[in-house]
């Protein structure tokens, strides 16, 4: 296999002028209306767009597909997505394709996601994988406010390097911060800090042992803890080290205080994707977005 040559591989770019950096801004609001969910306010700026394909209208949910017309993010680019599921609404958000973050000449790519789930509402945030090219530099923050009676599902796959072409992350930086509040109170916080000599750090035994794909799945729901056993069964998690997990996958799941958390590590993006589909299938709170099937 050969790595696909991209313009960002060959030319050591000089710093991109500020006026050329893409600044994506998006706001999506979903409203409950007579047993269905319809779009409320939508604001788009820069390369960020959202579409609501007819194929995504299933049951009471509204499925929005986010697009980045810029086709990936370079250093200095930013994206700020805000989404709100109003009382009783069910909003599903995904992305049209895997998001690529290109090699940076030093400037950070800044991604921010702000989610709000109001009373009795459901929000499923299920983007396709974010792929970091070697030397990508990314800061991402995901914050969520969830009403006690609401339900939030977060599925965030990350692939470090273009694994299909054998690329690994040797340099670059990723800082990924998650903060989830329920009824105003912080209930879940996480920070992934990958920096320094990544070729060495990612190989460490307690870090990733050279595996390139990772995902965190988080369900915030009044009944989250009751979903733990089905998720463990879907992954083949048992009591021994020699249990039913497929080759090329490591996984753990835990639940507490209305939170279900899953961590996945996989050799590559394809193995990660298979595990995520199994979890979503057996979690029983959401279907994989239609666009994933394409």
């Amino acid at each position: 296999m050969y790595a696909t040559e991209l313009p960002s591989d060959a030319s050591p770019r000089s710093t991109i002028p500020v006026e050329l950096r893409a600044k994506g801004r998006l706001f999506v609001e979903a409203l409950a209306a007579g047993g269905r969910t319809v779009r409320g306010a939508v604001e788009e700026a820069g390369p960020s767009r959202v579409r609501f394909p007819l194929s995504g209208r299933r049951g009471a949910a509204l499925e929005g597909v986010l697009l980045n017309t810029g086709g990936g993010f370079a250093g200095g680019d930013s994206s700020h997505v805000r989404a709100r599921a109003c009382d009783g609404a069910h909003l599903v958000l995904t992305t049209q394709a895997a998001e690529k973050i290109y090699r940076s000449d030093g400037a950070l790519t800044q991604l921010a996601v702000e989610l709000e789930v109001r009373a009795g509402a459901r929000l499923d945030w299920m983007p396709q994988a974010t792929i970091l090219f070697d030397r990508a530099r990314v800061e991402r923050s995901i914050t969520a406010e969830v009403a006690g009676s609401g339900r939030l599902l977060l599925v965030e796959p990350l692939v470090l390097g273009r694994t299909a072409s054998g690329e690994t992350l040797r340099q670059g930086a990723l800082f990924d911060s998650w903060r989830v509040r329920r009824d105003g109170r912080l209930i879940y916080a996480d920070g992934l800090d990958l920096s320094g000599d990544l070729a060495a750090v990612l190989g460490r035994g307690a870090v990733m042992r050279h595996w390139a794909a990772l995902a965190t799945i988080l369900l915030i729901a009044p009944d989250a803890e009751s979903r733990l056993q089905p998720v463990r069964a879907a992954l083949g998690i048992g009591e021994e080290a020699t249990d039913g997990l497929p080759d090329g996958l490591e996984a753990g799941a835990s639940a507490w205080n209305g939170i279900l958390a899953v961590r996945l590590l996989a050799r590559d993006g394809a193995g990660l994707d298979r595990a995520i589909r199994r979890i979503i299938r057996d979690l029983g709170v959401a279907d994989p977005p239609r666009i994933w099937h394409s």
């Binding site: 307690a206 080290a241 958390a261």
Partner: protein, 248 residues
């Protein structure tokens, strides 16, 4: 980094608990008591997921134990704990209640799994209960009055140390030493390893602690994080481990 180094090198000159039997020296006795295995915190019951890492063979001898502990110190729970401790210490030392509430709230929520949250909150609450009873201090009562929730262990230690005028550098290295000693002690029983091997691993880990403490002092709360994902998974898998000696 410059200010952090100053903090550590001036430990011997800072006044601490007001005793003057040895003028110019900091009285570190409270720290030695609080961080000893005999303090009623129950640290011995928690392995931070290490029990599963022994089950999988990730930890099988002194060298692999040393590597795992080094990863935790640089990228794992203990590093994040050091960051939380430093922020709690500064908030109490300066009497900024809002800052203390922020770090206490974040510390209580910053856990990747049920057992990791239990591990830090049970020790934190036990530490504070014991310390408020036997080592009372006005600044500690003030901090506890500001935050009514549960306490992550490093937040509790940082608050108590600041309330007693103990220097941040010694508190951090002392805390990390206790964490490492507890991990080594768990591994000595689980692998099993000889006491001499355990001693060597602890001595080797101890040489990293000043670096780790200095790095942790510089991390803003918004940058709290780590990368020890396989340690997180180990703590999750430990929940269903068939044979287990430890609570985490």
């Amino acid at each position: 980094m410059g200010t952090a180094i100053t903090t550590i090198t001036t430990i011997s000159e800072a006044g601490a608990t007001g005793r003057d039997a040895f003028p110019g020296a900091v009285d570190l006795v409270p720290l030695l008591v609080w961080l000893s295995p005999a303090y009623p915190v129950g640290s011995f019951a928690y392995s931070h997921g290490l029990e599963w890492a022994v089950e999988t063979g990730d930890i099988k001898d002194a060298a692999s134990l040393r590597g795992w502990i080094e990863d935790l110190l640089r990228h794992g729970g203990p590093f994040a704990d050091a960051v939380l401790l430093a922020h709690a210490w500064r908030a109490v030392e300066s009497g900024r209640d809002a800052d203390f509430i922020e770090v206490a709230e974040l510390g209580a929520a910053f856990a990747p799994s049920r057992e990791r949250q239990m591990e830090t909150l049970n020790q934190g609450d036990a530490f504070l209960a014991a310390t408020r009873a036997a080592w009372p201090a006005p600044a500690l009562e003030r901090a506890c009055a500001a935050w009514g929730g549960r306490y992550a262990y490093p937040v509790a230690v940082g608050a108590a140390a600041a309330a007693h005028g103990l220097p941040l550098g010694s508190t951090l290295t002392g805390f990390l030493t206790a964490v490492c000693a507890n991990l080594v002690s768990a591994a000595v029983r689980l692998v099993p390893l000889g006491q001499a091997d355990g001693n060597h691993v602890l001595a080797s880990a101890a040489r990293s602690l000043s670096d780790v403490a200095l790095a942790a002092m510089d991390v803003p709360l918004a940058r709290l994080g780590g990368a020890a994902l396989r340690s997180d998974i180990a703590s999750m898998r430990h929940e269903t481990q068939y044979t287990r000696l430890f609570l985490s």
